[in-house]
Symmetry: C2
Subunit: 379 residues, 2 copies
């Protein structure tokens, strides 16, 4: 098993499927890009699935092949971390609809031999979860000691517990929600309109031209990025400080439209850097999946029904300055879990960094997740 | 005076200037579009200047000539309203940099005979106020019994009191702030980047082509519009309700990229409708003026210094669900006024509608403004 070629970094598998999607389409084949860390225990009891967020990927704890940057959650996954490849078998898969090796608008439509573009079927969070289940079947992983995710990853963790309850011993849901609010949808719609307004988007059929709608995607990223940060965090980090320039080393207003303020420069950089590593159509599809997410709706309109009879243990974590998925959304989840009689622990952590806090160094978050996972190991 | 041709609806004047702008440029001539309502009292003591917000205009209480809609603040200005042309002489001028008759990027640069475009000088809130002062000089209005404004209009009211303290008896500052925060700047930067990313923007030189950057401007408007509404208000108004369609009269997910959710449809409409009445470059210039606004900075870094020795009475109003300019920003103003020994009253009103509440029917707001103005009339 140690030398199993299915395990390791930068893996990609083409599964035959078909996968029946929530929209009714049968998707076949189902491509999945993924990474694994550590060794699956002989009893199969140490598998942890990490679910990534909107613009995340499978490179959770290893160097990103495009950007060369460290994995996006090395604070949570790694030696001495709460999720430790020395003890756990860790799987992280690129979500369906994304652009890092899994089936999505940028992959080839077998019917045409060309990239799917907007012919790719619209997918849901549950579809992402079902594709991950296919991958686990392929890897020979049956039970999961835990599914762990922040933001959209937390939605997948919830959907895992609701869709495959017998397969999930524990779910860790961080800075997340059980449904997208009107404001969440509104911000995403701005991003989608920014992409679609870019003439280079060409109805999604831009791959052959080699000139993607980077300007629209950058604006979408900028708008979304504001929602990931708290006002207090932005003020602390940038305030109204001006950008230093060669001709104005101490910073001064240009009385022009340069990026005078540091926060402008930061946002422009965030927008541009994002376009180097992300596909605009994938952004459309994943934001759509997020907006469609309403776990209660999938269960007759009552969220508690999603967890009826569950034996999964839940750990729900929110951050006090997260205004994208505020603590009130986590409380809705906790109330539903309580109503369903599920074992649930909940903690609101304090952080100045808003939604992004789940990705940043947080000894409290590490302690909470570590304690929760260890309680399951010794049980 | 009743038949003075300077007074009335849809007026426009070309003043020789020059106006020295904060950026150092001398602007000449200075064009101002404006409206007046009511009659100036023989003692000149009943003049009220209304200052409009970012996308507002001088048509405060009369039909908008482009959209055919009623004035934007008929709830505040009109017969039986707190500001009543039967008692008050009301002036409302299009701000400098805008596009409804006042000098701005869409007006003609006398040096070239063509629209200014991005050659128009970057302006500030104080520049807007100075242009209004030129207009009042032209109209023969010396003291103002009150300057009244919401949002950017409130910033102008503050700037009036700080720049021409001897001329302002009272200032009403509603849903506003004394400086733009990092988050405020960030949202505006997204809008500016959306406009500038539109190829039809052409560096601001799009007037001759007759094909303005409407798509970019619509995205900018959509992003800004979210900040005008509260999350609770959006949820109440739209929630996750789906849009009815001919083929799906009860609404259903399209599993496509149509505007499935009512909030998407609403935002798209807001974006599109805006482009019919507003100039993209004007949006750039006015958002820049807002981002530059920091009244304390203009007074040595201490806001109270802006009001040193003032005899102006102030009425500060905030709304509890306004997250664009939250109550905490109004408190900063009130603390500075208190420190300066100014007469200031402050009230936080409750509304589900966020920042936009100042434009909507609010008996409480009307009562507060009416009482405040009448206290000055009887004093």
């Amino acid at each position: 098993m140690n030398d199993d070629p299915r395990f390791g970094l930068n893996r990609r598998v083409v599964l035959p499927g078909p996968l029946r999607l929530d929209g009714g389409t049968l998707l076949s084949p189902v491509e999945v890009g993924y990474e694994t860390y550590g060794r699956l225990a002989d009893n199969g009891g140490n598998a942890i699935l990490i679910c990534h967020a909107l613009t995340g990927d499978q490179h959770v704890a290893a160097t990103h092949p495009v950007t060369g940057k460290p994995g996006w959650w090395t604070r949570m996954v790694g030696p001495g971390r709460p999720i430790d490849p020395a003890r756990h078998f860790v799987i992280c898969a690129n979500v369906l609809g994304s652009c890092m090796g899994s089936s999505g608008p940028a992959t080839v439509n077998p019917a045409t031999g060309k990239p799917w573009g907007m012919a790719f079927p619209v997918i849901t969070i549950r579809d992402m979860v079902r594709a991950q289940a296919l991958l686990l079947d392929h890897l020979g992983v049956e039970p999961l000691m835990a599914v762990v995710g922040g933001s959209m990853g937390g939605m997948q963790a919830l959907s895992w517990a609701a869709t495959f309850p017998e397969r999930v011993s524990a779910a860790v849901v961080i800075a997340s929600t059980a449904r997208h609010s009107a404001q969440n949808i509104a911000f995403h719609e701005v991003g989608r309109q920014a992409i679609m307004a870019d003439p280079k988007w060409r109805g999604g059929d831009y791959y052959a031209a080699g000139d993607p709608p980077a300007a629209g995607l950058a604006v979408a990223r900028m708008a979304a990025h504001i929602t990931y940060l708290s006002e207090a965090g932005l003020t602390e980090k940038f305030g109204r400080r001006l950008q230093a320039r060669p001709d104005r080393p101490d910073g001064a207003k240009s009385f022009g439209f340069d990026a005078d303020f540091q926060v402008e420069s930061y946002l422009r950089h965030q927008g541009l850097a994002f376009t180097d590593r992300f596909d605009a159509n994938a952004y459309l599809y994943i934001t759509r999946a997020l907006d469609y997410f309403d776990l209660a709706e999938e269960h007759g309109g009552t969220l508690a029904h999603a967890f009826a009879g569950t034996r999964t243990r839940f750990c729900i974590v929110s951050f006090d300055t997260d205004w994208l998925y505020p603590t009130s959304e986590s409380r809705v989840i906790v109330h539903a879990l309580n109503a369903a009689g599920a074992r649930a622990s909940f903690v609101e952590l304090s952080s100045p960094f808003g939604h992004d806090a789940f990705l940043l160094e947080s000894p409290e978050l590490a302690r909470v997740v570590d304690g929760f996972l260890r309680a399951g190991e010794t049980a």
